[in-house]
Each structure stands twice: as structure tokens, then as C-alpha cells.
């Protein structure tokens, strides 16, 4: 496998996805969960730009990436706001403290 630019980007995408998924599976801190989600979304964004480039539709890929940035910001804001509320109400950011719905 030669180290052309697309191949490098694909490797980065896979790496970011892996890091994000691993973090989602292992971390228990709510803030870290939001960070892990952000890492995965960044991977998706990069993949969109790359796909646009490979298909010759750079405009489409980049505008979709911009849309993802907007949506993703909202996710981050709401997620962090929830984390703050959880810390205030439950007194801890540990996910294990958030199992009260389970009987």
C-alpha cells in the first residue's frame, strides 16, 4: 500500500474512529464520553471531505462537512450542559451513577 494522500487520510479516519469507539467502550466520565463522540464525528467529517474529493464533488463533500460541524457543535453543547446538570443533581460524573432507570 503506497502512502498517497487518500490512503493516509483513510488511515487517519480509521484511527480516529478506533480511538473514539475504544473510548466510548471504556471511559465512565461523562465529559470524556462527549470528547470521544467528538473524536468519532471528526473522523466522519474527514471521511466526507475525502469522499467528496475522490468523487470529484468537493463542493458537496465540504458543505456536508460544514453541516456536520454545525450539528456536532449542538451535540457537544447539549451533551456538556447535560454533564453539568448531572454533576449538580447526581453529584458525580460517573456513568455508573446514572443507572437509576434500571430496576
Amino acid at each position: 500500500m503506497n502512502l498517497s494522500v487518500p490512503n493516509i487520510v483513510i488511515l487517519i479516519v480509521i484511527g480516529l474512529l478506533g480511538v473514539g469507539a475504544y473510548a466510548l467502550l471504556t471511559v465512565r466520565n461523562l465529559i470524556k464520553v462527549v470528547v470521544a463522540l467528538q473524536i468519532m464525528v471528526k473522523a466522519a467529517m474527514l471521511a466526507l471531505v475525502l469522499a467528496g474529493r475522490l468523487q470529484g464533488q468537493e463542493n458537496l463533500g465540504q458543505s456536508l462537512a460544514l453541516t456536520v460541524i454545525v450539528a456536532d457543535t449542538i451535540v457537544a453543547v447539549v451533551g456538556l450542559a447535560l454533564a453539568v446538570e448531572v454533576r449538580r443533581v447526581v453529584g458525580s460524573l460517573d456513568l455508573k451513577a446514572l443507572t437509576t432507570l434500571r430496576r
Binding site: 469507539a21 466510548l24 467502550l25 465512565r28 456513568l95
Partner: protein, 583 residues
């Protein structure tokens, strides 16, 4: 012009729902007035749409891509049911002005009623099966919301959820039919399919036909799904009159009638439809004979009369079934609304605590008797003509034993109708009771329906012509009103049926003397009071579902990490299956 009336028929009630909802619960009078105005306007629009039925207007809204066009077709079957939905709807809304006077949260009530009326009109006017499914579910949702209107009453909530679950179950059949249609024809529009059912291979056609039968049986409370309708009687009475007697429960019969030309040739389909209708009619009639709750008796009689219509479709009498649908909508809405006036005044639904109400409520008694005689099938009233037409359709090349059982049901109908009327309005009055006759808004709703029960049979001729001209795939023959009257009067079967009805009436009148017979049949009446075990089956299914859910709870640890793990696994399985079978 037709397009304007079409869009107004569906749009006005929905606009009304929005307006009523936005105006809110500020002033009761404003809410009542808005609801009456919008429903009446929709009724007028639907009546003005009626003459366009013959032209068979087609109106498409391009929606692009997956769904195909959203097509509306103005034909005889559609305009006639839309007119029933909006006209009976506006009468029920007018009745509600008195009945719901002083209730909390009227906004919610009227918004859902208006949303329902628009949804029902859309359901019968569209020719896109997927869109029909959407409208179908909209009516189910409104029915649920209105049954559970008194949401602090656990019985009302349970009845609503039961109705919702059972009709949803049937809805799956309709959705399956829509998907099959789309798979084989590449379009959701069923007009071309009705004219040429061979577009679908025989196997798929059979699946679709029986899917539609399940959907229709669930919606029209037919065997084996009939249990939800009696429990739906927890709804406010105008709702029972509108949704559970005159309109929504007819959607199933409409579906069968609409698709009759496509499925008639499917082996076993017509027989299944006839048997489904016969069993519903028979079982519900027996249950109506022992029930003591006034509204439940009416609910059972609705199931029974819907059984007549379903039977008629199976027997090939599409016109007879739709004509009975018209008669039934009018006289059953009348019976329910009159029963509502009684319940509103007496404060109970138990017929054993009524009796002798006729003296205090002369007008209610008069209109109730008109409706009751129509239900029993006494000559001149509209129920007589349509029921005779159904029984006659049953005699044409159809199994004789089914006809015999339907004849028996006609007799049982006369029996329970007389029992109900005499228990409520005749006999000894209870002392110390203060009842008042129906209010003005109630009268304004009852009187047109009573006149309708006496006269709608005069429309038989024009209605038949409308159907015959606008439904080419059904190959209906149209006769004038006079010809139909002559046909009914001269047929010997009519006198046989009348004789059975007379025996039923006599038995109802002399039912005290028949107590010995009643004792002998006490096993049957006990089984009927237990709704022939269908309630037990329902409870069993609910319990099993709850046990399964309890057991599956293990899979919910409540930890985010495990949930993410499960999502990733599902994604991997999806990717793997796409990689293997995606080509």
C-alpha cells in the same frame, strides 16, 4: 371546482384542529363555536363534493422519490364516505356543545375530533395505498386519544390502549399490502391495480388480500379482533357515535369493498370474508342479548351490523354493503347520541337502573325508537331496505348455511333492540329521579339523524348510479330506487326475513315468559357475558408480552458502555450482511 371542495373537505377540519388548539382553553364558548363552525364548513364542502363523484377526478401532488405521487381520487365510494364522516362529524360536534358542557380541556377534545374528521375524509379519498395507511393510522391515533379523553380514569386509559394496539396490529396487514403493491407495480397507486389485478402474481395477491382482511377485521372490530370496541365505550358518547359507530369502524368495510374486484378471485378469500362477517354478527348479537350496559349493547350491535356489511362484501353485494353502511351510520349515530342524552341526564349507563324514562324524555324516546326500529329492520325505516338487500345478495350463489345464520342474526337483532328499548324507556319509572330531556344543541343533532333514518333509503337509486358509474372495476349494476323497492317487496326472501324479525320482536316482548328457555340456555349466556373467551385470550397475550419484557430486562444493564457495545455489534452485523448479500 372539485379540487377546491376536495382540499376543503380534508383541509378545513385540520385547519380547525390547529385553530382550536392554538386558541386554547381561554373561553369555553369560543372553543365550542370554532369547532362547530369548522366541522359544519367541512360538512358543506363534502356535500358540495358529492356531485363530482361521477366525474372521477384525479388530483396528484408530486412528492418525489420514494413515495410516488400523493393521489386523491374523487369517486362514488370516496365522496359518499367522506360526506358521512364530515356530516355525522359536524352533528356529533354540535351534540358535544351540550354533552361536553363544563368539561375541562375541551381544546384537546375538539382538536382531536377535527383532526379525526379530516383524517377519515383523507382515508377514503386517496388512491395511494401508502398514504391511505398514514390516514388509517391517524384515525387510529385520534380514536385512542379520544377513548382515553378522561385520562384520570384507568378504565378509559386501558380501553384506549387496547383499541390502539389491536388496530395497529391490523394496520401491519395494510402496510404489508402497500409494500407488496409497490414491489410488484413500482407505484403505490392502486387504480391501475384494481383494473388489472394480474399485475401481482397469484401468491402475492393472496398475501395482500388476506393482509387487507386482517386490517379490515381489526379496524371494523370483526372476528377475532372484536374485543376492543366494547371497551372503547369509555369514550365520551359523541365520540362513540362518530368514531365507533358511524365512521372509523367503517374503514374496514370500505377497504374490503374498495379492493373487492382485485381479491374476489383469490381462492378462499370471499369465503373467509363471509365467515368473518357471519361470526362477528352472530357472536356480537348474542352478547348484545345479555349485556346490561346501554353503550355496550350498542357497541355489540355495531359489531353485529358491521358483520352484515362484511358478509355482504364477501357475498359479492358491494352495493348492498355500502348502502347498509349508509343506513347504519345514520341510525347508529342517532342511537348513540340519543343514548348519550339519556346517560347525560340519568348519570349511569346501567340499563337496570333506567326504565320508564319515556315520560320524562319524550323527544329522546321518539328518536331512539326510530333508530331502534331501523336497527331491527322494520319496513319503511332505512335499515330494512339495506338489510334485505344484503340478505338477498347472500342468496346468490353463496352457501345457504351462511344465509340461514345471517337470517337468525336478523331475528336476534330484533330481540335485543326491543329488550334495550323497553329496559330504558318503558316499564316502571324509578322514584326520586330528576331527569330532563335533551338540550337544544342535542336536539339539533338528533332530529336530522331521525329524519335521515326514515328517508335515506330514498337515495338508493342515485347512490347506486353514482357507484356504478365511478367504479368501473367493480362492474356494478345500477337500478332506480323504485326498481330496488319493487325487487325487495316482491322477493319471497323478504317475507322470510320479516317473519324471523317478527319472531324476534315477539320473543323480545314476551321475554319474561321465555325465562324457562333462558334457563336452559344459561350456559350460552354465561359464555356470552364472558365474551366467549376472547377477553381471556386478550389477557393471556398481554400477560405473555409482559413476562417476555420482564425476562428481556436482563439485556438492559443501564450502562452506556454496554449500550455502545451493542450498537457497534449491530453495526458490524449490518456491514457484514451487506458485504455478503449486498450485490
Amino acid at each position: 371546482m372539485g379540487m377546491t371542495w376536495l382540499s376543503l373537505t380534508i383541509g378545513l377540519p385540520w385547519l380547525g384542529a390547529l385553530v382550536v388548539w392554538l386558541v386554547g382553553d381561554r373561553d369555553e364558548k369560543i372553543t365550542h363555536t370554532l369547532a362547530v363552525a369548522f366541522s359544519l364548513a367541512a360538512g358543506v364542502a363534502a356535500v358540495l363534493l358529492l356531485p363530482f363523484g361521477k366525474e372521477r377526478l384525479v388530483y396528484s401532488i408530486p412528492i418525489g422519490g420514494v413515495f410516488g405521487d400523493f393521489t386523491f381520487v374523487v369517486d362514488g365510494l370516496g365522496v359518499f364516505l367522506a360526506a358521512i364522516a364530515t356530516v355525522v362529524g359536524s352533528l356529533a360536534v354540535i351534540f358535544s356543545v351540550d354533552y361536553m358542557h363544563g368539561e375541562q380541556q375541551l381544546t384537546r377534545y375538539y382538536a382531536f375530533v377535527l383532526f379525526f374528521i379530516g383524517g377519515m375524509a383523507g382515508l377514503v379519498l386517496t388512491s395511494n395505498l401508502l398514504l391511505m395507511f398514514f390516514f388509517w393510522e391517524i384515525t387510529a391515533l385520534c380514536s385512542y386519544a379520544l377513548i382515553s379523553f378522561h385520562n384520570d380514569d384507568p378504565k378509559a386509559v386501558a380501553g384506549g390502549i387496547k383499541a390502539l394496539i389491536i388496530t395497529q396490529l391490523g394496520g401491519i396487514g395494510l402496510l404489508a399490502g402497500a409494500l407488496l403493491l409497490y414491489t410488484y407495480t413500482g407505484s403505490n397507486d392502486f387504480q391501475a391495480f384494481l383494473e388489472n389485478p394480474a399485475l401481482l402474481p397469484a401468491g402475492a395477491l393472496a398475501w395482500m388480500g388476506f393482509g387487507c382482511l386482517i386490517a379490515a377485521a381489526a379496524k371494523s372490530a370483526q372476528f377475532p379482533f372484536q374485543t376492543w370496541l366494547p371497551d372503547a365505550m369509555e369514550a365520551p358518547t359523541p365520540i362513540s357515535a362518530l368514531i365507533h359507530a358511524a365512521t372509523m369502524v367503517n374503514a374496514g368495510v370500505y377497504l374490503l369493498a374498495r379492493f373487492y374486484p382485485a381479491f374476489a378471485e383469490v381462492p378462499g378469500w370471499r369465503e373467509a370474508v363471509m365467515i368473518c362477517g357471519m361470526l362477528s354478527a352472530l357472536l356480537a348479537a348474542i352478547m348484545a342479548m345479555v349485556a346490561t350496559d346501554l353503550k355496550r349493547v350498542l357497541a355489540y350491535s355495531t359489531i353485529s351490523q358491521l358483520g352484515f356489511m362484511v358478509y355482504a362484501v364477501g357475498a359479492g353485494g358491494v352495493f348492498a354493503s355500502q348502502f347498509h353502511l349508509l343506513s347504519h351510520s345514520v341510525f347508529k349515530a342517532l342511537l348513540f347520541l340519543a343514548a348519550g342524552a339519556v346517560i347525560h341526564s340519568v348519570g349511569t349507563r346501567d340499563m337496570r337502573q333506567m326504565g320508564g324514562l319515556g315520560k320524562d324524555m319524550p323527544l329522546t324516546r321518539a328518536v331512539f325508537v326510530v333508530g331502534g326500529l331501523a336497527l331491527a329492520g322494520i319496513p319503511i325505516f332505512n335499515g330494512f331496505w339495506s338489510k334485505e338487500l344484503i340478505l338477498e345478495a347472500g342468496l346468490h350463489d353463496n352457501p345457504l348455511w351462511l344465509y340461514g345464520l345471517m337470517l337468525l342474526v336478523a331475528g336476534l337483532t330484533a330481540f335485543y333492540t326491543l329488550r334495550m328499548m323497553s329496559m330504558v324507556f318503558y316499564g316502571e319509572a324509578r322514584a326520586g329521579r330528576h331527569v330532563h330531556d335533551a338540550g337544544n344543541a342535542m336536539k339539533a343533532a338528533l332530529l336530522p339523524l331521525a329524519v335521515g333514518s326514515l328517508t335515506t333509503w330514498l337515495l338508493a337509486g342515485p347512490f347506486g348510479h353514482l357507484l356504478a358509474e365511478s367504479l368501473p372495476a367493480h362492474h356494478l349494476k345500477a337500478h332506480g330506487t323504485l326498481a330496488i323497492v319493487e325487487e325487495v317487496i316482491t322477493a319471497p326472501a323478504t317475507y322470510l326475513a320479516l317473519g324471523v324479525v317478527a319472531v324476534g320482536l315477539l320473543a323480545g316482548w314476551q321475554r319474561q315468559r321465555l325465562s324457562a328457555l333462558g334457563q336452559a340456555l344459561s350456559g350460552v349466556s354465561k359464555a356470552a357475558a364472558e365474551s366467549f373467551g376472547f377477553e381471556a385470550i386478550n389477557r393471556g397475550v398481554v400477560n405473555a408480552a409482559q413476562k417476555l419484557a420482564e425476562w428481556l430486562r436482563v439485556t438492559q444493564p443501564g450502562l452506556l458502555n454496554w449500550n455502545v457495545f451493542a450498537i457497534l455489534c449491530a453495526l458490524l452485523i449490518l456491514l457484514a450482511s451487506l458485504a455478503v448479500g449486498g450485490r
